[in-house]
Symmetry: C2
Subunit: 353 residues, 2 copies
């Protein structure tokens, strides 16, 4: 028996849920914006909801301020047997839900820690939740059936469910999501005051550090204000650290400069390694190939014939050159064999041991 | 005629230069640390320098504080015909070089805007500089031959050379490299004060925003202090923006919160799109495949047979599952054809239009 899911709101998150569930669940879609819904249906995220059929689980993928009124409207018409949402702030939304007077035993809040800086159903991907935490935030009144339904949804999307109270959730995301957003926006905003063309002289550091600054300002105003009780003190502390660093730089106090950098390094070590970063366990073989159909196929056929399992692939296009560098990530024990096989097959292997 | 390059210092940058030049230049390597040199030679970055043969270009890939004394030592023994370095700060280093009394017409400073948070020759890659800016910083006394040699080196490494004065360089990198480093370290340092396990509840935002906080603190103390004249005022301004944001959050002033987020979004739009991010021009087809040798080969052969050029590949491993999701990035016009070909060949295509 496969539980059906009604996704309300076909933006980035809602459409990605539909794509992720593609072959596992019956997915019904609805949205107040017809054009968004058309894109989501067109991309295969699910079928249009006829407005009558009740779903086993209703997922509200709408901005935090709309969750409570939408939930009430849907529950009054009996749209589902359990309800969840994906708001990045939970206490505030839970209080608004409580105030509507609905049967809160059917409601379990949730928050997938996934997303990207590009919004809308066109940016959705089936892989958005793979390996990401999906926080379940049951209230004191949430029934076991509703919590179980949300946990199963998270698992079916490839995410890793974990449970926090709404307050614990909000305290945590203030630190691990809202503070990084604020810092990224503040650093990116400084670029507007720099010498013209400065941002063109950028390395991967600027690109990564400011990536989330491209996120939708309207959504983030809502999130930051909705969680300001936790966010504001953290922003004050961050500003204080930076003011102390500036003073240390002005006076040439290298101990204080080193202290912040070392604390930063220790803090960063707490962050789980990103999916796809296999640097510690894997090695790679790089090959220069012409940018033409069939070239990649030849590489992979050669690897397969040599009995080598390619764990990951990175493609680097060389601007202005009709070729690219392909990096095949493999187990260290397979490296030499793959290099030999590729060289024998006539490929331009870039690194040799 | 291929100009030879002597790389002094086989850390991340020096070894990556050797790997990048592999099939284009004669590369000689030296390092005060025998173990680093062994790794670089073992990875195929070049040959051990015998200490006698002079090179057409000497590249000092050593910490900024060591550039001037090393340069003097090498010039006194006639190690090369032109000299460059890769210091992340230029004015300070140039002043130290001038003070040594060497023939500065042979010296042209340089700085590749490449790097990663992992140090040492083991982290080096032939692709580190592909498409990245490599800033040439000639002094007023630098001769044309030295500047040309550095420009050719940058090009041969796949980088894009551009020219700035040492002062312009330092003002620019304070904004686009040193400020992001400081912000990343300060955000990551806050994680040490959070609830235990908080960093496990992290999404891509935290991972990207704090990535460079893992960089070597000792190197960065030197860089930040060496450029403190430009860095300190920027850090003050960033702290000021954050203090104003905290005040706005405390008082619920949504206009001021929105203002920072919108400025951040406009600033981020100035940052060139990262290599490999083809979201605007390309589309993708996702397929679920077992994690076994030959699976990728089948995908690429099918794509090639359909006449589709695969522009990029992303591999997502599903933790705890014996399969992965492969995303093939293609031209929008090729998408339908590739989906049909893959489905016909029996692959589990995840998205359908």
């Amino acid at each position: 028996m496969t539980a059906s899911v009604l996704v309300v709101g076909t933006g980035l998150i809602g459409t990605s849920v539909g794509l992720a569930l593609h072959d596992r669940r019956r997915v019904l879609l609805t949205d107040s914006a017809a054009d968004r819904l058309d894109v989501a249906v067109g991309r295969g995220a699910g079928e249009r909801w006829d407005g009558a059929e009740p779903a086993d689980l209703v997922l509200l993928a709408v901005p935090p301020s709309v969750v409570a009124p939408e939930l009430r409207r849907l529950m009054e018409r009996g749209a589902g047997r359990a309800y969840t949402h994906v708001a990045s702030i939970q206490s505030h939304v839970q209080r608004e839900i409580d105030a509507t007077g609905v049967d809160t035993s059917l409601v379990c809040g949730g928050h997938p820690l996934a997303g990207r800086e590009t919004a809308g159903p066109g940016a959705a991907t089936a892989e958005l939740f793979l390996g990401r935490p999906w926080v379940l935030c049951p209230s004191e009144r949430t029934g076991a059936a509703a919590a179980d339904a949300v946990r199963a949804l998270a698992t079916d999307c490839g995410a890793e469910p974990l449970e926090l109270s709404p307050a614990e959730h909000d305290r945590t995301v203030a630190l691990v999501s809202h503070l990084p957003q604020v810092a990224a926006s503040a650093v990116a905003a400084r670029l507007l005051t720099g010498p013209p063309g400065a941002a063109d002289v950028s390395g991967p550091g600027l690109q990564d550090t400011t990536r989330v600054a491209a996120s939708d300002p309207s959504l983030w105003v809502e999130v930051l204000l909705g969680n300001r009780g936790y966010v504001a003190p953290l922003v004050r502390e961050l500003a204080g650290d930076l003011d102390r660093l500036a003073a240390a730089l002005e006076s040439g106090a290298d101990g204080a400069v080193r202290d912040l950098l070392e604390r930063g390094s220790r803090g960063r070590a707490l962050v789980p390694v990103k999916r796809g970063e296999h640097d510690r366990d894997f090695t790679s073989v790089a090959v220069s190939v012409p940018d033409a159909p069939g070239q990649l196929a030849g590489l992979f056929v050669t690897a397969a014939d040599a009995g080598v399992n390619v764990e990951d692939v990175r493609v680097e296009h060389l601007r202005g050159r009709p070729s690219g560098v392909i990096e095949l990530v493999v187990q260290p024990g397979d490296r030499q064999r793959l290099q030999t096989a590729l060289a024998t097959a006539g490929f331009a292997v870039l690194r040799a041991d």
